[in-house]
Amino acid sequence: MKVLIMGCGRVGSYIASTLWHDGCKVTIVDSQAESFFLLPTDMRNQGDCTIVGDGVLEEVMRRAGVVESDVFVAVTSQDNRNILATQKAKHLFGVPRVVCRIGDPMRQEVYSNLGLNVVSSTRVASNLILEAIRL
């Protein structure tokens, strides 16, 4: 399975390394090269897994192999960028499966209703903390 990930923060790097160790072909894009230090050394040394660039741009997406990708995942910290990139991957490049991280619960609702595969950790994290407070 070929997976293209936009955003190499804590979430992106964890997803990337997990999938990579599972044997998937992973490419991860981030605008800053330093972000890739969050990846395991052997994955970083692979050479063709990481791409420095703005994952929202068509030419960067193409360079990262979006056309052959089975899955596109947008997990930067910015909702709007994730939303734009995911919809681009889905509607322009026809990537079969896309996952979009959206922090804002209201935006999450709108885009889920629009049929976008959205994952939001904000409510989950908030509820866990509330539980911890109440105990």
Partner: protein, 220 residues
Amino acid sequence: MYIVIVGGGKVGYHLTRALLNAKHEVFVIELDAERVDDLVGRFGNMAIRGDGSEPSILTAAGLTRADIFIATTSFDDANLVACQLAKHRFGVDRTIALMNNPENERLFDILGVDFTVSSTEILLAAIEEDLPAHSNVRILAIHGNRDVVGVEIPPGALVAGTSLGLVGLPEGTKLVAVIGRNGELKQLDDDTVFDVHDEVLGLTAVDQTEAFMEVFTSEE
């Protein structure tokens, strides 16, 4: 009409002035506090500070009752999200987005932004118009993958001297106007004759633009 605009920068500001002069009700959402103060100072309580892609701010702007929503920030992703929220969450009939990167045009169109304005495209068209080597220019991109194009009939073109009734236009294209070299608008009927240096305006489907231009510039 009630019109909500995101972005109180140059574009948003002048747009606001023009719309207010035309007696519309306008509300502006802007991130920069100083700009908001400036707008409120000039026009009254018609601006708030906030991110136009945030549902809560759009609610505060009374977007539900807006007739038109216009996103003019310098960030395409924010403009896109703002327009999608306006359409799908607030039910706004007409959404308009300023698009900074022309490559986003198709996507915006697919995702339901009713009208996109690409400043880059407009500037390019203006530049191309000045280049003598180019005898044709794309004037406007219209929703639904259509272009309005202008082409000047060059010397040596086969169509010069032919009447409209005898000219075959490509499928999906329509002749809008023919302007003579002295600026006169020619009557459009079968007997209208095309002359060198006439400017021909047409409405074409995006993939027929080339073919349309060919009709008026081809020399064989």
